[in-house]
Amino acid sequence: MDVLLEVENVSKFFGGLGANQNLTFNIEGGEIIGLIGPNGSGKTTLINVITGNYTADSGRIRFIGRDIVGLTPYVINRLGIARTYQVVQPFVGMSVLENVATGALFGRSGKNRTLKAGLEKANEVLALCRIVDKRNELVENLTIADVKRLEIAKAMATDPHLLLLDEVMAGLSPKEIDDALEIIAKINKMGVTLLVVEHVMKAVMAISHRVIVLHQGKLMAIGNPEAIVKDEQVIKAYLGEKYVTRRKKSGGS
């Protein structure tokens, strides 16, 4: 597969704090990339930098060969990068269908859609995200699990090539997480590349083709899930130094 997104030496500082420092990695078309790291390691900042909500202080980001640093969020969305927010951002006061139709009427190919086509597209996406039966509800009446699905649906309605999911499984029950994983797998099968930020480790490891680990703003490790769970540095960052020494002593795996 071709390279979809190239991130090269990207840094983002807030005052003296290096939220992202010299990050370099590629995402290939069709992949599911897991992005993990402890709280404050710069995962959400990285997403914001890619989508143009923040502008990178240095470095280059290329999407399908085009430099996208400095472009505004709506332009980047129209190029084909969609996202969800960790703190959900639904359109309160509108129905679920209207929320998703808004995505379908704008986004990458929304310009060519009539209102009717937009609503049809919205229905399709709602079926994909399994909330089609809630389409006439106001978003303020939804459960957290449904709002998270709505956020995926809104982003998917903009016809992205690359979808960035920021903790869409946080606060869900095990059953709901399984559902979310199935939805993500289905989206990936449709040819959409995904970058999934998640704290639910079991979930990330289950679906990711590759995993990126951030630690204190720096790229700590990148590789397939099996390698990542055995990486000493990663274990240290997540479980602490003591755990590593204890594990060594006991000689266990």
């Binding site: 951002q89 639904p90 359109f91 209102l115």
Partner: protein, 322 residues
């Protein structure tokens, strides 16, 4: 069931318009004048609704377009020899353009800051109008009198304001159903989220304010020709803006019918109270507005939808309240 409801709405609108069309033939000049004023305020409230009701921005200085529309219509007629309708349209187009130019920086502001900035613009333009030659400054500006008999002039302005009111309502209805409406409601609800869905929020806010300014300018132009005399304090009066914004809030911002309810309610109430309580009328009017705002904070239309709509009724049945 829903089809029936739709036809009932059409029927009510039809009867309402028919009454307004017949009304001037059945009543006297006094009432024709009052209703022309009501139509003017409905037009202004509806024009403001486009920005305030859908995009959630409160343009307190929108009256600036009323003044610009009024003055340009006058100046183009007197100094440039245009006839009324071309002058009116040209003035409104300038309002659209002016909103786009000042909107570019101002629409980046949010909430109260936007409201205050528009007031600043309005006051600045008022000062300019008071101090330059072409507006005849503070002396005021005389427009040519309409070459019609008095009776006919009353009818002319009545139906002209009526048409402006219908046109701006159709425009609002169209916007609410179009992709602009989706964009604006997205912006009102969550601007950050809207941007992430590929919505050029700055552009859609400009379009909304431009259309709002256009119709506000139309109302101003008609007003100028109707009164035949304008001066800066009367057409750039923030009080006018406060009035149509109160009407919009009372009726229900973000609904098509709201501006009608608000304008008709306030104007007719003012008339009745004024004739009944000559010395206390502003106090009584204020008290009524306070009561309405306490009990229906989102306006008549939202109150109605909450309490009396079919879906609300079913909701109450489900909850066992009925």
């Amino acid at each position: 069931m829903i089809m029936q409801e739709k036809w009932r709405v059409y029927l009510i609108i039809g009867v309402f318009l028919l009454i307004l069309i017949i009304l001037p033939f059945m009543s006297n000049k006094y009432w024709i004048r009052i209703f022309t004023t009501i139509f003017m305020y409905t037009t202004l409230a509806q024009a403001t609704n486009i920005l305030m009701g859908f995009a959630g921005l409160v343009p307190f200085g929108n009256v600036v377009f009323f003044g610009i529309g009024a003055y340009l219509t006058g100046i183009l007629m007197v100094d440039f020899g245009l006839s009324f309708f071309p002058a009116l349209i040209f003035g409104a187009v300038v309002c659209f353009a002016f909103a786009s130019v000042i909107g570019y920086p101002i629409l980046k502001l949010k909430g109260h800051y936007f409201a205050i900035a528009t007031m600043g613009v309005s006051e600045a333009i008022k000062q300019i109008a008071t101090n330059i030659q072409i507006t005849r400054g503070g002396m005021g500006f005389n427009l040519p009198l309409i070459p019609l008999k008095i009776e006919a002039a009353y009818f002319f302005f009545y139906f002209l304001m009526f048409s402006a009111m219908v046109l701006v309502t159709l425009a609002t209805y169209w916007i609410s159903r179009s992709r602009i409406g989706y964009a604006l409601r997205g912006i009102m609800s969550n601007e950050e989220g809207a941007k992430s869905l590929g919505i050029n929020t700055a552009y859609y806010k400009l379009v909304a304010w431009g259309i709002s300014a256009f119709f506000t300018g139309i109302a101003g132009g008609i007003f100028a020709y109707w009164y035949a005399y304008i001066d800066p304090p009367s057409v750039f009066d923030i009080g006018i803006a406060v009035r149509f914004i109160i009407m919009l809030l009372l009726g229900g911002a973000g609904t098509i019918i709201g501006p009608f309810l608000g304008a008709f309610f306030i104007e007719l109430l003012t008339e009745t109270i004024w004739s009944k309580f000559l010395f206390l009328h502003l106090g009584v009017l204020g008290a009524i507005i306070v009561l309405v705002v306490i009990f229906m904070p989102k306006g008549f239309m939202w109150f109605y939808r909450q309490r009396f709509s079919l879906s609300a009724l079913l909701e109450n049945v489900r909850k066992g309240k009925l």
